[in-house]
Amino acid sequence: MTLEVHIDHRFDGFALDLSFAAGAGITALFGRSGAGKTTVINAVAGLLKPQGGRIVLGGETLFDSASRRFVPPAARRLGYVFQDARLFPHLSVSENLTFGARYAPAGAKGAGFDDVVALLGLEALLSRAPGTLSGGEKQRVALGRALLSKPKMLLMDEPLASLDGPRKQEILPYLERLRDGPLGLPILYVSHAVDEIARLANTLVLLKDGKVQQAGPLYDVMANPAAVPLLGVREAGAVLEAEVLAHDPDGLSRLKISAGVLALPGVQAPVGAKVRLRVLAQDVMLSLRPPEGLSALNVLRVTIEGIHPGDGPGAAIALRAGGDTILARITARAVTELGLVPGMSCYAILKATSVAPGNIGR
């Protein structure tokens, strides 16, 4: 099931003009506030009628300005999880969950009540009133309610933005289960948090000022130096796939990536598991010679693929490391002083953090 989106919409001096496609897995729509993310997801849901464009889901045209076709939201069968949960206050959790079930066509594919309750850990909440739930519980119920309407696709508009750190950690594993589980439901996920995207997304679409700046598999976009200013210099950095080789007695774990073996602390995944590693560009240093007498453990031999000067004193360097590309952000002055040019070999000294179990889904 593929979602194709073309939107041309102008309002209050803001112009949205973009196209992208979302396939299997989680497609993240990333952008700063005001980039047009919510406008896009509302247009897909049918809560907003764009002035122009075309939206097609799995061959069914939901909106087409040329033929004046507009399928109303109730007939689109898209499960929408809002940032603010929007549970019905007069209904119990259980009644909220089953609200949409009666509108799904007979024979529609989707999870049953017991499966969803188990998946989201809602057993203890069923008879509660929404007003008595915590923020994280509300979002789990909202997610369950959307799933039980048996949608063709899930739309999530910053579902974690109103939650604090621990509550986010409470929801993320459920989203991963949903992504990797048997439902195989495609998800369009709007967010402005790079850590969430690095952990969840398969495909990444970067929006700025109503336009798509970059789009593609998460791994490729995160490793593209041109994406650094869009993601923010502190947040940008490659996401790599790694396999857990061993957990050493001193608390470090050894993980294999295409360019070698890294030693990392705090890896929870079992030996043999695939995990995502996030290598922040600002945590990568470069050295022309193999470093000696350095406390850092992780040194990779890399080849410079490209050098992208930024607006300020920094520059983003794309480095080939085995089969992967990682990013380093160093100063433009360092580039000159070290005489870095594409094609050169050097050493990358890096600090990586394990972000999540699961594969990147390339």
Partner: protein, 229 residues
């Protein structure tokens, strides 16, 4: 008819008229309240003004307008009479006068209740597949039910107390169109009628106070319900 019997008869008629007026007005008031709360259209301000007009117009003017429109010689009145509905100088006319006079109060209470419901909840219901009618029945209506009741109670109380438009439109015929306020007024016209009026004043005051208290309690429930606790 003894004085006491006349008072009880007036109370009975007032309750009868107020019940009918409330029952008939609620669906229309709800529709108008919903339109005013949820839709934008050309002439919305005018509709709102017309609905609220009876609040500011002297009741005798409203009654006279009804007489012009629905009197036995008026085209509308004749048309209704030909299908067996008589309004002028008949208790059903008192019902019509009560509906018109209570309508702004009902619409106002219901409109406030509807406006307190976040349209985002209705959007959420739509994304779950619910039609507009289902959304109204399963989300909006349950949330505003106490507001509807509060509006109905206010309309009922207004109908119980309506005097000016009623006496102008349907006169003051004991047993037929003499409601409680009309009976009080009639008693006060007779020298020494104050003691009889006093009993009816107590009746009217109790009914009005009760209605306001019930309405307040229901309004509090709307707030609690929308907060979802």
């Amino acid at each position: 008819m003894s004085a006491d019997a006349a008072a009880w008869e007036a109370l009975r008629l007032s309750l009868w008229v107020a019940c009918w007026a409330t029952l008939l007005a609620v669906p229309f008031a709800l529709a108008v309240a919903w339109v005013l709360a949820r839709r934008d259209f050309w002439g919305k301000g005018l509709l709102s003004a017309v609905v609220h007009l009876p609040l500011v117009l002297p009741p005798v003017v409203t009654g006279y307008m009804l007489l012009i429109a629905f009197g036995r010689t008026a085209p509308l009145g004749r048309a209704l009479e030909s299908i067996g509905i008589t309004l002028a100088f008949h208790w059903s006319g008192a019902v019509l006068a009560a509906i018109i006079m209570g309508f702004p109060l009902m619409v106002r209470a219901m409109r406030l209740a509807i406006e307190a419901v976040d349209p985002k909840l209705e959007e959420a219901a739509a994304t779950l597949g619910a039609s507009d009618l289902s959304i109204f029945g399963r989300v909006t209506l349950p949330l505003i039910a106490p507001g509807i009741l509060a509006g109905a109670v206010m309309g009922f109380a207004k109908a119980m107390g309506e005097f000016g438009a009623t006496i102008t439109f349907v006169a003051n015929i004991p047993g037929q169109t003499q409601t409680l306020p009309s009976a009080i007024w009639a008693a006060l016209q007779i020298p020494g009628g104050e003691s009889q009026a006093l009993g009816m004043v107590v009746m009217a005051s109790v009914a009005a106070l009760g209605a306001v208290l019930i309405s307040e309690a229901l309004a509090r429930r709307v707030a609690a319900r929308i907060a979802g606790t």
